[in-house]
Amino acid sequence: MRRSPLSLAALVVGAYLVLSDGPVIWLILSSLKSRQDLFTLPPKVLFHPVWTGYQAVFGIGAASTTAIAVGLYESLVTSILVSVLGTFFAVALGTLAGYATSRFRFPGHGDFMFFVLSTRMIPPVAVLVFYLVMYSRLGLIDTKVGLILVTTFINLGLATWIMKGFFDGVPTEVENIALVNGYSRLNAFWRLVLPMVRGGIAATAGFCFIFAWNEFSFASILAATTAKPLPVKISAAMGATGMEWTQIFAAGVVLVVPVAIFFFLIRRYLLIGMTFGVLGKRSG
């Protein structure tokens, strides 16, 4: 009798896990290494950990006042502010647009949905050629307002598509019954439909936050000096003695923690979020 070899499957999974999580472990270890320990061969697995990288990111102690660490904590704050507000606006507006596109057919409906989808596909550098001109005319270069606007924009299409999917999952009878019972449509939307897609809104917010938090291209051009978010800040972490690896890796670990938490919280919706709502079950 032929049996599919269990050992082969285990081997594939095992090898993949080593390759995918090995670098993750290496990142975490390296974020705790002093300058000498970073460059020794064979690589050190046991070493005396230093916390200077994390201190620099959180603005604690002497490590945060060195020339190269200045502004690191401020950019963490910028990152949080921009991601949270950008997520809020994208989810709020995307929820409204998602409801409208789910419930009503208007002329150009299909074209509008494609237009919305195309925002996910656009190469940032292409539109940035114009954004830079526009932002400098509007005085939005290197401002948090400018960053929040662009963060809202990059997630708005995603939020609209995902939320449309969640609203599609709510039967129209809900509103019809409410309308017959004297509710206005706005009331029915606010009191009945919206609570039914709470889970969907939370999942959408999780995705928008992840993309906003990890965004680099737009911010690297539009906020290159004073309002840098953390990813842009660390890309410039060149000291007099080369790259500030400890700081970069510490920032990398700090950046991944909220993303990992959100991934865990919205794990049921991963497929929906990663495919623009194309795949996956959509119950609220």
Partner: protein, 303 residues
Amino acid sequence: MDESRSRPKRPRTLPDPWLCAIFIAPTVLILTLMVFYPFVSLIRYSSLDFSMLRPDVTPVSVGWSNYIDLLTDKDIWQRFVFTGKFVLATLSIQFVVGIAAAHGFQRDFRGRDLLFTLALMPMMFCPIVVGFLWQYMFNSEWGMVNWLISLLGIAKIDWLGKSENALWAVAIADAWTWTPFVILLATAAFRGIPTDIRESAQVDGASPAFTFFHVTLPMSLPIITIAFLLRLIDAFKQFDLFVAMTGGGPGSETETAAYSLSKMAFGYFHTGQASAFAIILLVLILGLSMVFVRYLTSLSNRI
């Protein structure tokens, strides 16, 4: 019976078309400002000889010459060829490894859910951090990768100093980040296949390999195609990793099309010509997106 009872009363309420318009207006406004308006402006700029650094100089109209200059420039074609090679390299790794790993995860074993979550880890990292991490690990002198291959008796490789090696180094970093995406979608595809189909193939005496290649894979092709199109578009515009890992070097040999464009626009500030370049990229991407949407529509009609 009074009038208000027989007809459901809906006083003081917005008519539906108005509500729809109000709900959708902010999104239309932002997308018009951030996509439509830039697109139209880029078309206008693309016919001008103009630099945003010199706003006082009146731009001169040059007709199609920005496009002609770009399309007759051998270096630009080289950038597209390099982009194509990179896309091909990273997609091959992602899909071979991703589908194999997803297949491995099909089996029920203890701790599978935890391991599956761990398998998704790379996708969570900020791309610029991924770039620096791999630049660190690919360092030819003290990098982890060269140390590991030296244990196998292979000579050190100058990963980021030579363009053909750097292509693979960045492709590996990109594939490392996005293989989890392929695993996620391939797993969804495999789960969507009714188990009795695979079981009956086994009962008929098909080998596991035969079942995989002739039953499982063809049946999961629609979702894998979706994954492929999404990854294709993303790989085509990959930018962050090249910034962090090679800076386009050595020379400009590892510049993708998007990277060249960013240098033209934000390094040399040839805004007019960069606009023409941007339009070319946008048209290419929109073409790919249309293929994607067509495919999705045909798929949803079939299901």
